[in-house]
Assembly symmetry: C2
Homo-oligomer: 338 residues x 2
């Protein structure tokens, strides 16, 4: 019943060679006679030997594991991203360990400070609540790539989408369909909520450009970016007396929540109210009406993040922090009359 852990030693004994020779076979070292090699391979198969990664990693100082830290896995945007990151990492022989921060500052600090130190070789991090100070205070020197707009001056690589431009483009599109009272759902009070600030900025830029007044009552604040927040915010908009004729939601979940409220109350979308989101999650493509949205190139985000992280792990930290810009696209669908 005890664990008969099998190691190089056991294989070596069975094959009648030294431990190092077995190691050499396992690692594909060239100078091994084919006779010895096949004898060793037979022994490996017979004992069902698997290298012990802890030991290998201890010796080599690397684990081959990178962490992906996201707020929540069941937010579809992050789920889709996670899948792509895992695939991209796999192609490079890396294993991904996913950490959920729950968007809590405390958990994000832990991650940044490297509580997984020595377990991971690198970190892809999508922070929500972390302040620039937190990040500046980071002691851990594990290579890290941040996802999200570059707001920190620290020496960290970023993979970003131009949130301001994208939000502006979405809002302009709403205006182009003839809407005059364009609301926004997704503003946040938290100073660390950078994404929110940038998308809000884009929204205001667009309003200014087309000469529409900025009306504070049309800007709805939310605590988080879930469907329920969008639904409640939409209800507030409808109850405030002057209903909007278009809403730009800062992500698709907010938009889907808002859509639910609108349909529930008998409003026609896009007839009465046009709706645009951000992220292009699959849900939006199957909602009725289908959801107009900003589609960041998630595939590119994942690939660039992994590539950049791999480069950083190889080169060490001396290299300059890079900012990698990833393209996006406005997907016009039924919710804005597309």
């Amino acid at each position: 019943m005890e664990k008969p852990r099998v190691g190089l030693k056991d294989v070596a004994r069975l094959a009648g060679v030294s431990v190092k020779t077995v190691s050499n076979v396992v690692n594909g070292y060239v100078h091994v006679t084919s006779a010895t090699r096949s004898r060793v391979e037979a022994a490996i198969k017979e004992l069902n030997y698997r290298p012990n990664l802890s030991a290998r990693n201890l010796r080599q100082g690397r684990t081959g594991i990178i962490a992906l830290a996201v707020p929540e896995l069941d937010i579809p945007y992050f789920a889709e991203l996670a899948r792509l990151v895992v695939s991209a990492a796999e192609e490079r022989g890396l294993t991904v360990l996913i950490d959920q921060t729950g968007a809590s500052r405390e958990r994000e600090q832990l991650v940044a400070e490297g509580f997984r130190a020595h377990l991971i070789d690198g970190l892809i991090f999508s922070p929500l609540a972390l302040t620039p100070e937190d990040l500046a205070a980071r002691m851990d020197d594990t290579p890290m790539v941040l996802l999200g707009e570059r707001v920190y001056d620290g020496p960290a690589d970023h993979v970003v989408v131009d949130n301001v431009a994208a939000a502006k483009e979405a809002t302009l599109h709403l205006a182009a369909t003839g809407r005059r009272r364009i609301a926004a759902i997704g503003a946040q009070d938290d100073v660390a909520a950078e994404t929110s600030r940038l998308r809000l900025a884009g929204y205001f830029e667009a309003l200014a450009e087309v000469g529409l007044p900025a009306d504070d009552r049309l800007v709805q604040h939310v605590d988080t970016y879930h469907r329920a927040d969008g639904a409640r915010a939409m209800a507030r908009l409808l109850d405030c007396g002057q209903a909007p004729d278009a809403v730009f939601c800062f992500n698709d979940l907010l938009a889907l929540g808002a859509l639910r409220t609108l349909l529930e109350r008998g409003h026609d979308v896009p007839g009465d109210v046009a709706l645009a989101g951000f992220d292009d999650i699959e849900d939006g493509r199957y909602a009725t009406p289908t959801l107009t949205t900003i589609s960041p190139d998630k595939q590119a985000i994942a690939r660039q993040a992994v590539d950049q992280l791999a480069a950083r792990m190889a080169k060490g930290s001396q290299a300059e922090a890079r900012e990698i810009r990833v393209p996006y696209e406005l997907m016009i669908r039924e919710s804005t009359g597309g």
Copy 2:
């Protein structure tokens, strides 16, 4: 530029004590004078020392990591499950590494055969394409808990929902609303598709119980369980001449896809066609109409799986394989006129 890896040795030198004493402090060993302890703690902080997990794991023979192997992370059901498993594991001090099998038999075989051997202490596995033979051939002795109906006689623990009873209940509910032509979407040809078979069985049982004929043309087969498959299957149902007045979809994604097709073609739900799903993912609660569905207690699934796995890891493999049944609930919502 080199990495100045700091280990117990360095802390010990700085604090003027032996390596083991530092280790004792780190591990909270009792018999250390508070004077020594604080000296060591100061040194630890000064050097920003982090224990090397590879070394610790090598020594202890455990890694504290368990794997969760699911088909796809961006299937909401698995994303929600993943979040809950990660949380449950965390409470026990375990870290979760997520593997995506892509529902490919090859990848699932790899997982079952323990290609993560020595990296993980245990495995929670939700197989889709694996055959009983594959599982019987499993050599690796890493503790494993399977999610999904118990179809294998092998010595593996299972956490299951009674798929037959649940599917039957959903179908009976559709019949109880007066529907006569109740279709099913989600049958699969693959012999390994156990979930599909069980839900189909429940569907037929319900039809028999209420005296409705089983019509093969009303049973739609799909390749996978994504929205697109549901949408296509619904289209086939509508095009076959005799449209159904109710559809039981074997998961919520299929139902959401079907819903999209129905609304797109101008059918009223639930007026013309009632719709029920399975899984109770959040999307369904915000769709319009909201989706009637079977809600498995995911929280219980996650907790039971982690608990059972932890027990198995502690006790070794001698204990009997257990089957743990988790409750479900029929959530009646708008799509069936709730």
